[in-house]
Protein backbone atom coordinates (compact mmCIF):
# COMPACT_ATOMS: atom_id res chain seq x y z
CA UNK A 1 0.00 0.00 0.00
CA UNK A 2 3.00 2.28 0.46
CA UNK A 3 4.96 2.78 -2.70
CA UNK A 4 8.68 2.14 -2.79
CA UNK A 5 10.64 5.40 -2.72
CA UNK A 6 14.23 4.23 -2.50
CA UNK A 7 15.52 0.90 -3.45
CA UNK A 8 19.16 0.08 -2.78
CA UNK A 9 20.99 -2.79 -4.36
CA UNK A 10 24.29 -4.07 -2.98
CA UNK A 11 25.75 -0.77 -1.90
CA UNK A 12 29.45 -0.61 -1.12
CA UNK A 13 30.89 2.73 -0.08
CA UNK A 14 34.56 3.68 0.20
CA UNK A 15 36.43 6.63 1.67
CA UNK A 16 39.59 6.13 -0.36
CA UNK A 17 40.61 2.59 0.52
CA UNK A 18 38.49 2.42 3.65
CA UNK A 19 35.23 0.56 3.16
CA UNK A 20 32.55 2.33 5.20
CA UNK A 21 29.52 0.39 3.92
CA UNK A 22 29.43 -3.12 2.61
CA UNK A 23 26.74 -4.92 0.65
CA UNK A 24 23.69 -3.01 1.79
CA UNK A 25 20.36 -3.72 0.17
CA UNK A 26 17.05 -2.35 1.37
CA UNK A 27 13.89 -0.61 0.27
CA UNK A 28 12.56 2.56 1.81
CA UNK A 29 8.82 3.19 1.59
CA UNK A 30 7.12 6.48 0.84
CA UNK A 31 5.15 8.23 3.58
CA UNK A 32 6.80 6.16 6.26
CA UNK A 33 9.47 6.95 8.79
CA UNK A 34 12.52 4.75 8.46
CA UNK A 35 14.96 4.93 11.37
CA UNK A 36 18.61 3.92 11.19
CA UNK A 37 20.23 2.93 14.48
CA UNK A 38 23.62 1.60 15.47
CA UNK A 39 26.73 2.57 17.40
CA UNK A 40 28.62 5.64 16.29
CA UNK A 41 31.03 5.16 13.42
CA UNK A 42 29.02 2.29 11.94
CA UNK A 43 28.17 4.21 8.76
CA UNK A 44 24.69 5.63 9.41
CA UNK A 45 25.55 9.15 8.27
CA UNK A 46 27.50 7.82 5.33
CA UNK A 47 24.50 5.80 4.27
CA UNK A 48 22.14 8.76 4.64
CA UNK A 49 24.42 10.98 2.57
CA UNK A 50 24.42 8.39 -0.21
CA UNK A 51 20.72 9.08 -0.67
CA UNK A 52 21.17 12.70 -1.75
CA UNK A 53 24.74 12.35 -3.01
CA UNK A 54 26.12 14.72 -0.39
CA UNK A 55 29.11 12.39 -0.27
CA UNK A 56 30.04 13.65 -3.73
CA UNK A 57 31.73 16.65 -2.09
CA UNK A 58 34.22 14.41 -0.26
CA UNK A 59 37.43 13.79 -2.22
CA UNK A 60 38.19 10.13 -2.75
CA UNK A 61 34.71 8.92 -1.85
CA UNK A 62 33.27 6.20 -4.10
CA UNK A 63 30.08 4.19 -4.28
CA UNK A 64 29.34 0.83 -5.87
CA UNK A 65 25.90 -0.63 -6.37
CA UNK A 66 22.66 0.99 -7.38
CA UNK A 67 20.51 3.54 -5.58
CA UNK A 68 17.11 3.85 -7.21
CA UNK A 69 14.79 6.76 -6.44
CA UNK A 70 11.38 6.15 -8.00
CA UNK A 71 13.10 3.45 -10.03
CA UNK A 72 15.71 5.82 -11.47
CA UNK A 73 19.37 5.24 -10.68
CA UNK A 74 20.53 8.47 -9.01
CA UNK A 75 24.19 7.62 -9.67
CA UNK A 76 23.67 7.06 -13.38
CA UNK A 77 25.68 9.34 -15.66
CA UNK A 78 23.81 12.49 -16.62
CA UNK A 79 21.75 12.69 -13.42
CA UNK A 80 21.20 16.29 -12.29
CA UNK A 81 22.61 16.25 -8.76
CA UNK A 82 21.26 19.69 -7.97
CA UNK A 83 17.74 18.57 -8.85
CA UNK A 84 18.22 15.37 -6.89
CA UNK A 85 19.07 17.39 -3.79
CA UNK A 86 15.96 19.47 -4.26
CA UNK A 87 13.90 16.27 -4.29
CA UNK A 88 15.76 14.78 -1.34
CA UNK A 89 16.08 17.37 1.41
CA UNK A 90 18.32 17.10 4.43
CA UNK A 91 18.29 18.22 8.05
CA UNK A 92 21.59 18.12 9.86
CA UNK A 93 22.72 17.11 13.30
CA UNK A 94 23.39 20.60 14.56
CA UNK A 95 20.80 23.20 13.54
CA UNK A 96 22.50 25.19 10.78
CA UNK A 97 20.29 28.11 9.77
CA UNK A 98 22.06 30.73 7.66
CA UNK A 99 23.04 33.88 9.58
CA UNK A 100 20.14 35.68 7.95
CA UNK A 101 16.56 36.53 8.88
CA UNK A 102 13.96 33.83 9.52
CA UNK A 103 12.19 34.81 6.31
CA UNK A 104 15.34 34.77 4.18
CA UNK A 105 16.26 31.34 5.51
CA UNK A 106 13.01 29.79 4.38
CA UNK A 107 12.98 31.82 1.17
CA UNK A 108 16.50 30.75 0.24
CA UNK A 109 15.58 27.59 -1.64
CA UNK A 110 12.58 29.05 -3.52
CA UNK A 111 14.65 32.10 -4.52
CA UNK A 112 17.63 30.10 -5.72
CA UNK A 113 15.47 27.66 -7.63
CA UNK A 114 13.06 30.30 -8.91
CA UNK A 115 10.01 28.53 -7.53
CA UNK A 116 7.81 31.59 -7.12
CA UNK A 117 6.83 34.30 -9.53
CA UNK A 118 6.29 37.25 -7.19
CA UNK A 119 6.54 38.53 -3.62
CA UNK A 120 3.07 37.38 -2.61
CA UNK A 121 3.69 33.85 -3.77
CA UNK A 122 7.03 33.79 -1.97
CA UNK A 123 5.45 35.06 1.23
CA UNK A 124 2.72 32.46 0.96
CA UNK A 125 5.25 29.69 0.45
CA UNK A 126 7.33 30.85 3.42
CA UNK A 127 4.23 30.91 5.60
CA UNK A 128 3.15 27.44 4.46
CA UNK A 129 6.61 26.04 5.12
CA UNK A 130 6.81 27.59 8.58
CA UNK A 131 3.33 26.24 9.37
CA UNK A 132 4.42 22.85 8.07
CA UNK A 133 7.35 22.91 10.47
CA UNK A 134 5.12 24.00 13.38
CA UNK A 135 7.07 27.21 13.78
CA UNK A 136 4.72 29.80 12.28
CA UNK A 137 2.94 30.81 15.49
CA UNK A 138 6.24 31.43 17.25
CA UNK A 139 7.84 33.62 14.57
CA UNK A 140 4.97 35.16 12.58
CA UNK A 141 5.22 38.50 14.42
CA UNK A 142 8.85 38.97 13.56
CA UNK A 143 9.95 37.24 10.39
CA UNK A 144 12.82 39.71 10.10
CA UNK A 145 14.52 38.58 13.29
CA UNK A 146 17.86 36.91 13.01
CA UNK A 147 17.57 33.14 12.73
CA UNK A 148 20.44 32.72 15.17
CA UNK A 149 18.45 34.49 17.89
CA UNK A 150 15.97 31.58 18.01
CA UNK A 151 16.33 28.74 20.49
CA UNK A 152 18.07 25.61 19.22
CA UNK A 153 14.80 23.73 18.98
CA UNK A 154 13.27 26.56 16.96
CA UNK A 155 16.37 26.71 14.78
CA UNK A 156 16.02 23.03 13.97
CA UNK A 157 12.36 23.49 13.05
CA UNK A 158 13.44 26.45 10.92
CA UNK A 159 15.85 24.14 9.12
CA UNK A 160 12.97 21.73 8.54
CA UNK A 161 10.86 24.62 7.21
CA UNK A 162 13.72 25.63 4.94
CA UNK A 163 13.97 22.06 3.66
CA UNK A 164 10.25 21.66 2.95
CA UNK A 165 10.05 25.05 1.22
CA UNK A 166 11.48 23.51 -1.95
CA UNK A 167 8.80 20.77 -1.88
CA UNK A 168 11.06 17.76 -1.53
CA UNK A 169 9.75 14.22 -1.73
CA UNK A 170 12.11 12.83 0.87
CA UNK A 171 13.51 14.37 4.05
CA UNK A 172 16.73 12.93 5.46
CA UNK A 173 17.45 13.74 9.10
CA UNK A 174 20.84 13.01 10.62
CA UNK A 175 20.41 12.86 14.40
CA UNK A 176 18.18 15.96 14.27
CA UNK A 177 17.58 15.98 18.02
CA UNK A 178 21.01 15.25 19.40
CA UNK A 179 21.68 18.92 20.13
CA UNK A 180 18.23 19.55 21.60
CA UNK A 181 16.68 19.34 25.06
CA UNK A 182 13.97 16.72 25.79
CA UNK A 183 11.03 19.06 25.20
CA UNK A 184 12.36 20.33 21.87
CA UNK A 185 13.05 16.69 20.98
CA UNK A 186 9.43 15.72 21.60
CA UNK A 187 8.29 18.66 19.48
CA UNK A 188 10.43 17.52 16.57
CA UNK A 189 9.16 13.95 16.95
CA UNK A 190 5.59 15.16 16.88
CA UNK A 191 6.44 17.17 13.78
CA UNK A 192 7.90 14.08 12.11
CA UNK A 193 4.65 12.22 12.63
CA UNK A 194 2.81 15.04 10.84
CA UNK A 195 5.37 15.25 8.06
CA UNK A 196 5.14 11.58 7.18
CA UNK A 197 1.64 12.20 5.83
CA UNK A 198 3.32 13.97 2.94
CA UNK A 199 6.95 12.93 2.82
CA UNK A 200 9.19 9.93 2.93
CA UNK A 201 11.35 10.37 6.03
CA UNK A 202 14.65 8.70 6.86
CA UNK A 203 16.09 9.49 10.25
CA UNK A 204 19.40 8.54 11.81
CA UNK A 205 19.31 8.38 15.57
CA UNK A 206 21.53 7.08 18.32
CA UNK A 207 18.52 7.12 20.58
CA UNK A 208 16.73 3.77 20.45
CA UNK A 209 13.68 5.01 22.33
CA UNK A 210 13.30 7.66 19.67
CA UNK A 211 13.46 5.08 16.90
CA UNK A 212 10.90 2.97 18.73
CA UNK A 213 8.62 5.98 19.33
CA UNK A 214 8.48 7.52 15.88
CA UNK A 215 9.53 5.10 13.20
CA UNK A 216 7.65 2.55 11.14
CA UNK A 217 10.77 0.75 9.96
CA UNK A 218 14.11 0.30 11.66
CA UNK A 219 17.47 -0.62 10.21
CA UNK A 220 20.27 -1.68 12.51
CA UNK A 221 23.81 -0.94 11.29
CA UNK A 222 26.94 -2.53 12.69
CA UNK A 223 30.45 -1.96 11.32
CA UNK A 224 29.24 -0.85 7.91
CA UNK A 225 26.75 -3.68 7.50
CA UNK A 226 22.98 -3.64 7.70
CA UNK A 227 22.45 -6.37 10.29
CA UNK A 228 18.70 -6.18 10.55
CA UNK A 229 15.95 -4.32 8.76
CA UNK A 230 12.28 -4.78 9.49
CA UNK A 231 9.17 -3.14 10.87
CA UNK A 232 10.08 -1.24 14.00
CA UNK A 233 7.82 -3.34 16.19
CA UNK A 234 9.45 -6.59 15.16
CA UNK A 235 12.96 -5.22 15.50
CA UNK A 236 12.31 -4.12 19.04
CA UNK A 237 10.13 -7.01 20.21
CA UNK A 238 11.53 -10.04 18.40
CA UNK A 239 14.76 -9.24 16.62
CA UNK A 240 15.96 -11.98 14.29
CA UNK A 241 19.63 -11.46 15.05
CA UNK A 242 21.41 -12.01 18.34
CA UNK A 243 23.52 -8.88 17.71
CA UNK A 244 20.43 -6.70 17.37
CA UNK A 245 19.01 -8.02 20.58
CA UNK A 246 22.29 -7.41 22.40
CA UNK A 247 22.42 -3.88 21.05
CA UNK A 248 18.88 -2.83 21.88
CA UNK A 249 19.07 -4.32 25.31
CA UNK A 250 22.31 -2.46 25.92
CA UNK A 251 24.63 -5.45 25.98
CA UNK A 252 26.55 -4.44 22.88
CA UNK A 253 27.62 -1.11 21.43
Amino acid sequence: MHTIKFSLEHIYFYYGKYMALSDISMTILDRQITALIGPSGCGKSTFLRCLNRMNDTIPGARLEGRVLLDNQDIYAPGVDVVNLRRRVGMVFQRPNPFPQSVFDNVAFGPRVLGLTRNKDELYWLVEQSLRGAALWDEVKDNLKQDALSLSLGQQQRLCIARAIAVSPEVILMDEPCSALDPIATLEIEELMRQLKEQYCIVIVTHNMQQAARVSDWTGFFWLGKLVEFDETQSVFTRPSQKLTEDYITGRAG
Binding site: T57, V82, R85, R94, F108, V112, D146, V166
Partner: protein
Protein backbone atom coordinates in the same frame (compact mmCIF):
# COMPACT_ATOMS: atom_id res chain seq x y z
CA UNK B 1 65.03 30.52 50.43
CA UNK B 2 67.35 31.47 47.60
CA UNK B 3 65.82 28.83 45.41
CA UNK B 4 62.36 30.05 46.14
CA UNK B 5 63.18 33.59 45.15
CA UNK B 6 64.94 32.93 41.86
CA UNK B 7 61.92 32.17 39.68
CA UNK B 8 60.14 35.08 41.30
CA UNK B 9 62.92 37.45 40.36
CA UNK B 10 62.99 36.14 36.80
CA UNK B 11 59.27 36.57 36.57
CA UNK B 12 59.50 40.11 37.92
CA UNK B 13 62.15 41.05 35.36
CA UNK B 14 60.21 39.60 32.45
CA UNK B 15 57.00 41.20 33.62
CA UNK B 16 58.68 44.58 33.91
CA UNK B 17 60.26 44.29 30.49
CA UNK B 18 56.90 43.47 28.92
CA UNK B 19 55.32 46.39 30.75
CA UNK B 20 58.03 48.80 29.68
CA UNK B 21 57.83 47.64 26.08
CA UNK B 22 54.05 47.96 26.05
CA UNK B 23 53.96 51.32 27.76
CA UNK B 24 56.74 52.79 25.67
CA UNK B 25 55.06 51.89 22.41
CA UNK B 26 51.91 53.60 23.66
CA UNK B 27 54.09 56.46 24.78
CA UNK B 28 55.69 56.84 21.36
CA UNK B 29 52.32 56.94 19.66
CA UNK B 30 51.17 59.65 22.06
CA UNK B 31 54.42 61.59 21.55
CA UNK B 32 54.11 61.45 17.78
CA UNK B 33 50.53 62.59 18.05
CA UNK B 34 51.53 65.59 20.21
CA UNK B 35 54.40 66.46 17.91
CA UNK B 36 51.99 66.40 14.99
CA UNK B 37 49.61 68.66 16.89
CA UNK B 38 52.36 71.06 18.01
CA UNK B 39 53.72 71.51 14.51
CA UNK B 40 50.41 71.46 12.70
CA UNK B 41 47.88 73.29 14.85
CA UNK B 42 49.51 76.74 14.45
CA UNK B 43 48.54 76.78 10.78
CA UNK B 44 44.88 76.97 11.75
CA UNK B 45 45.67 80.30 13.45
CA UNK B 46 48.22 81.63 10.96
CA UNK B 47 46.07 81.05 7.90
CA UNK B 48 42.37 81.94 7.66
CA UNK B 49 40.05 78.97 7.42
CA UNK B 50 38.59 80.28 4.16
CA UNK B 51 42.08 80.19 2.69
CA UNK B 52 42.87 76.80 4.21
CA UNK B 53 39.80 75.20 2.70
CA UNK B 54 39.89 77.02 -0.60
CA UNK B 55 40.63 75.43 -3.94
CA UNK B 56 44.17 76.67 -4.59
CA UNK B 57 47.43 75.34 -3.17
CA UNK B 58 50.21 77.81 -4.02
CA UNK B 59 52.33 78.09 -0.85
CA UNK B 60 54.75 80.52 -2.50
CA UNK B 61 51.89 83.03 -2.88
CA UNK B 62 50.44 82.34 0.54
CA UNK B 63 47.59 80.24 -0.85
CA UNK B 64 47.09 77.15 1.29
CA UNK B 65 43.88 75.64 -0.09
CA UNK B 66 43.92 71.97 0.93
CA UNK B 67 40.71 70.99 -0.88
CA UNK B 68 42.38 69.83 -4.11
CA UNK B 69 44.73 67.67 -2.07
CA UNK B 70 41.96 66.15 0.04
CA UNK B 71 39.84 65.50 -3.04
CA UNK B 72 42.88 64.19 -4.88
CA UNK B 73 43.54 61.66 -2.13
CA UNK B 74 39.86 60.74 -2.06
CA UNK B 75 39.69 60.29 -5.84
CA UNK B 76 42.76 58.09 -6.02
CA UNK B 77 41.87 56.03 -2.95
CA UNK B 78 38.21 55.47 -3.82
CA UNK B 79 39.04 54.55 -7.41
CA UNK B 80 41.68 52.15 -6.14
CA UNK B 81 39.13 50.49 -3.86
CA UNK B 82 36.55 50.39 -6.64
CA UNK B 83 39.06 48.39 -8.66
CA UNK B 84 40.52 46.29 -5.86
CA UNK B 85 37.34 45.32 -4.01
CA UNK B 86 35.64 43.23 -6.70
CA UNK B 87 38.97 41.85 -7.88
CA UNK B 88 40.10 41.00 -4.36
CA UNK B 89 36.85 39.35 -3.33
CA UNK B 90 36.62 37.33 -6.52
CA UNK B 91 40.23 36.21 -6.13
CA UNK B 92 39.63 35.27 -2.49
CA UNK B 93 36.58 33.25 -3.54
CA UNK B 94 38.61 31.55 -6.23
CA UNK B 95 41.48 30.72 -3.91
CA UNK B 96 39.31 29.51 -1.05
CA UNK B 97 36.33 27.95 -2.78
CA UNK B 98 37.22 26.93 -6.30
CA UNK B 99 40.94 26.32 -6.74
CA UNK B 100 42.14 22.76 -6.21
CA UNK B 101 44.18 22.11 -3.11
CA UNK B 102 47.60 22.18 -4.79
CA UNK B 103 46.84 25.50 -6.54
CA UNK B 104 45.83 27.03 -3.22
CA UNK B 105 49.13 25.98 -1.69
CA UNK B 106 50.99 27.84 -4.45
CA UNK B 107 48.71 30.88 -4.64
CA UNK B 108 48.61 31.78 -0.96
CA UNK B 109 52.36 32.31 -0.44
CA UNK B 110 52.54 34.10 -3.79
CA UNK B 111 49.90 36.59 -2.67
CA UNK B 112 51.81 37.17 0.55
CA UNK B 113 54.99 37.85 -1.39
CA UNK B 114 53.14 40.48 -3.42
CA UNK B 115 52.42 42.36 -0.19
CA UNK B 116 56.14 42.61 0.46
CA UNK B 117 57.11 44.46 -2.73
CA UNK B 118 58.48 47.89 -1.69
CA UNK B 119 56.22 50.70 -2.84
CA UNK B 120 59.05 52.54 -4.58
CA UNK B 121 59.52 49.52 -6.81
CA UNK B 122 55.85 49.57 -7.67
CA UNK B 123 56.10 53.31 -8.31
CA UNK B 124 58.97 52.74 -10.68
CA UNK B 125 57.07 49.96 -12.38
CA UNK B 126 54.06 52.30 -12.68
CA UNK B 127 56.12 55.11 -14.15
CA UNK B 128 58.00 53.12 -16.73
CA UNK B 129 55.50 50.44 -17.73
CA UNK B 130 51.99 51.40 -16.69
CA UNK B 131 52.04 55.15 -17.43
CA UNK B 132 52.94 54.77 -21.13
CA UNK B 133 50.16 52.21 -21.55
CA UNK B 134 47.65 54.51 -19.86
CA UNK B 135 48.79 57.43 -21.99
CA UNK B 136 48.39 55.51 -25.24
CA UNK B 137 45.04 54.01 -24.26
CA UNK B 138 43.56 57.35 -23.21
CA UNK B 139 45.26 59.39 -25.90
CA UNK B 140 46.25 61.95 -23.23
CA UNK B 141 49.40 64.04 -23.22
CA UNK B 142 50.60 62.30 -20.07
CA UNK B 143 50.22 58.86 -18.53
CA UNK B 144 50.79 60.19 -15.01
CA UNK B 145 47.15 60.40 -13.96
CA UNK B 146 44.82 59.66 -11.04
CA UNK B 147 43.92 56.43 -12.81
CA UNK B 148 47.55 55.31 -12.93
CA UNK B 149 47.82 56.00 -9.21
CA UNK B 150 44.57 54.16 -8.54
CA UNK B 151 45.77 51.13 -10.49
CA UNK B 152 49.03 50.99 -8.58
CA UNK B 153 47.26 51.47 -5.26
CA UNK B 154 44.70 48.82 -6.16
CA UNK B 155 47.57 46.47 -6.87
CA UNK B 156 49.14 47.38 -3.54
CA UNK B 157 46.00 46.84 -1.49
CA UNK B 158 45.02 43.61 -3.27
CA UNK B 159 47.19 41.25 -1.20
CA UNK B 160 45.74 42.65 2.03
CA UNK B 161 42.18 42.44 0.73
CA UNK B 162 42.64 38.94 -0.66
CA UNK B 163 44.24 37.42 2.39
CA UNK B 164 41.89 39.02 4.92
CA UNK B 165 38.83 38.18 2.79
CA UNK B 166 40.10 34.64 2.35
CA UNK B 167 40.44 34.22 6.10
CA UNK B 168 36.88 35.49 6.46
CA UNK B 169 35.62 32.96 3.91
CA UNK B 170 37.61 30.26 5.62
CA UNK B 171 35.88 31.04 8.91
CA UNK B 172 32.43 30.36 7.44
CA UNK B 173 31.36 26.99 8.86
CA UNK B 174 31.12 24.04 6.50
CA UNK B 175 27.60 23.47 7.77
CA UNK B 176 26.40 26.57 5.85
CA UNK B 177 27.83 25.23 2.63
CA UNK B 178 26.29 21.82 3.26
CA UNK B 179 22.93 23.41 3.96
CA UNK B 180 23.06 25.39 0.72
CA UNK B 181 24.01 22.37 -1.38
CA UNK B 182 21.46 20.14 0.32
CA UNK B 183 18.71 22.60 -0.66
CA UNK B 184 19.49 22.16 -4.32
CA UNK B 185 21.60 25.30 -4.75
CA UNK B 186 24.56 25.00 -7.11
CA UNK B 187 28.06 25.49 -5.78
CA UNK B 188 28.09 29.05 -7.15
CA UNK B 189 24.73 29.95 -5.68
CA UNK B 190 25.91 28.61 -2.35
CA UNK B 191 29.07 30.69 -2.52
CA UNK B 192 27.41 33.95 -3.54
CA UNK B 193 24.26 33.72 -1.49
CA UNK B 194 25.46 31.97 1.64
CA UNK B 195 29.21 31.97 2.10
CA UNK B 196 30.09 35.50 0.92
CA UNK B 197 27.24 37.19 2.86
CA UNK B 198 28.20 35.21 5.97
CA UNK B 199 31.76 36.51 5.59
CA UNK B 200 30.62 40.08 5.03
CA UNK B 201 32.05 41.61 8.21
CA UNK B 202 35.44 40.10 7.45
CA UNK B 203 35.25 41.45 3.91
CA UNK B 204 34.40 44.93 5.20
CA UNK B 205 37.45 44.72 7.45
CA UNK B 206 39.54 43.64 4.47
CA UNK B 207 38.41 46.66 2.47
CA UNK B 208 39.01 49.06 5.35
CA UNK B 209 42.51 47.70 5.85
CA UNK B 210 43.19 47.94 2.13
CA UNK B 211 41.85 51.48 2.09
CA UNK B 212 43.99 52.38 5.09
CA UNK B 213 47.04 51.16 3.20
CA UNK B 214 46.01 53.05 0.06
CA UNK B 215 45.24 56.45 1.59
CA UNK B 216 48.49 56.60 3.52
CA UNK B 217 50.66 55.43 0.64
CA UNK B 218 53.09 58.06 -0.55
CA UNK B 219 56.01 56.97 -2.66
CA UNK B 220 54.30 55.08 -5.47
CA UNK B 221 51.52 57.65 -5.66
CA UNK B 222 53.92 60.55 -5.90
CA UNK B 223 55.74 58.82 -8.74
CA UNK B 224 52.74 58.09 -10.94
CA UNK B 225 50.01 60.69 -10.38
CA UNK B 226 51.64 63.72 -11.95
CA UNK B 227 51.24 65.83 -8.80
CA UNK B 228 49.23 68.72 -10.25
CA UNK B 229 47.25 70.35 -7.44
CA UNK B 230 44.04 70.87 -9.37
CA UNK B 231 40.47 70.36 -8.23
CA UNK B 232 39.33 66.95 -9.52
CA UNK B 233 35.75 68.06 -10.11
CA UNK B 234 35.13 67.23 -13.75
CA UNK B 235 34.28 63.74 -14.94
CA UNK B 236 37.59 63.31 -16.73
CA UNK B 237 39.62 64.08 -13.61
CA UNK B 238 40.40 60.42 -13.26
CA UNK B 239 42.38 60.66 -16.49
CA UNK B 240 44.33 63.76 -15.50
CA UNK B 241 47.12 64.40 -13.03
CA UNK B 242 46.18 64.89 -9.38
CA UNK B 243 48.03 65.50 -6.21
CA UNK B 244 47.38 63.70 -2.95
CA UNK B 245 47.93 64.87 0.62
CA UNK B 246 50.73 62.40 1.23
CA UNK B 247 52.58 63.30 -1.97
CA UNK B 248 52.37 67.00 -1.05
CA UNK B 249 53.93 66.45 2.35
CA UNK B 250 56.67 64.24 0.99
CA UNK B 251 57.51 66.47 -1.94
CA UNK B 252 57.58 69.79 -0.10
CA UNK B 253 58.82 68.89 3.37
CA UNK B 254 62.44 68.94 2.22
CA UNK B 255 62.38 72.52 1.00
CA UNK B 256 60.44 74.42 3.68
CA UNK B 257 62.01 76.44 6.45
CA UNK B 258 61.30 74.94 9.84
CA UNK B 259 58.67 76.96 11.70
CA UNK B 260 57.41 78.77 8.59
CA UNK B 261 53.72 78.95 7.71
CA UNK B 262 54.29 76.50 4.87
CA UNK B 263 55.97 74.09 7.32
CA UNK B 264 53.01 74.30 9.68
CA UNK B 265 50.64 73.88 6.75
CA UNK B 266 52.27 70.58 5.78
CA UNK B 267 51.83 69.30 9.33
CA UNK B 268 48.27 70.61 9.20
CA UNK B 269 47.68 68.34 6.20
CA UNK B 270 49.13 65.55 8.31
CA UNK B 271 46.51 66.26 10.98
CA UNK B 272 43.71 66.25 8.41
CA UNK B 273 44.98 62.93 7.05
CA UNK B 274 45.15 61.53 10.56
CA UNK B 275 41.58 62.62 11.33
CA UNK B 276 40.27 61.06 8.10
CA UNK B 277 41.99 57.72 8.70
CA UNK B 278 40.83 57.79 12.30
CA UNK B 279 37.20 58.30 11.24
CA UNK B 280 37.56 55.54 8.64
CA UNK B 281 38.81 53.05 11.19
CA UNK B 282 36.17 54.11 13.67
CA UNK B 283 33.32 53.59 11.20
CA UNK B 284 34.77 50.23 10.20
CA UNK B 285 34.94 49.16 13.82
CA UNK B 286 31.43 50.48 14.45
CA UNK B 287 29.85 48.59 11.52
CA UNK B 288 31.55 45.39 12.57
CA UNK B 289 30.46 45.91 16.15
CA UNK B 290 26.86 46.58 15.12
CA UNK B 291 26.75 43.45 12.95
CA UNK B 292 28.18 41.41 15.80
CA UNK B 293 25.53 42.66 18.15
CA UNK B 294 22.82 41.70 15.72
CA UNK B 295 24.22 38.23 16.10
CA UNK B 296 25.13 37.65 12.49
CA UNK B 297 25.28 39.16 9.08
CA UNK B 298 22.87 39.34 6.25
Amino acid sequence: MEQMRRPRLGEFVIESLVKVAGLSSIGFVVLIFFFLLREGVPVFFEVELTNLFSTRWYPTFGLFGTLPLILGSALVTLSAIAIALPLGVVTAVFVREVAPHWAREILKPMIEVLAGIPSVVLGFFGMTLLAPVVRRMLGMPTGLTALTGALILAYMSLPTIISVAEDALDAVPKSYRDAGLALGATQWQTIWRVVVPAARSGIVTAVMLGMGRAIGETMAVMMVTGNAARMPLTLDSLFRPVRTMTATIAAEMGEVAEGSVHYHALFGIGIILFVITFILNLTAAATIFKKRRRGGLR
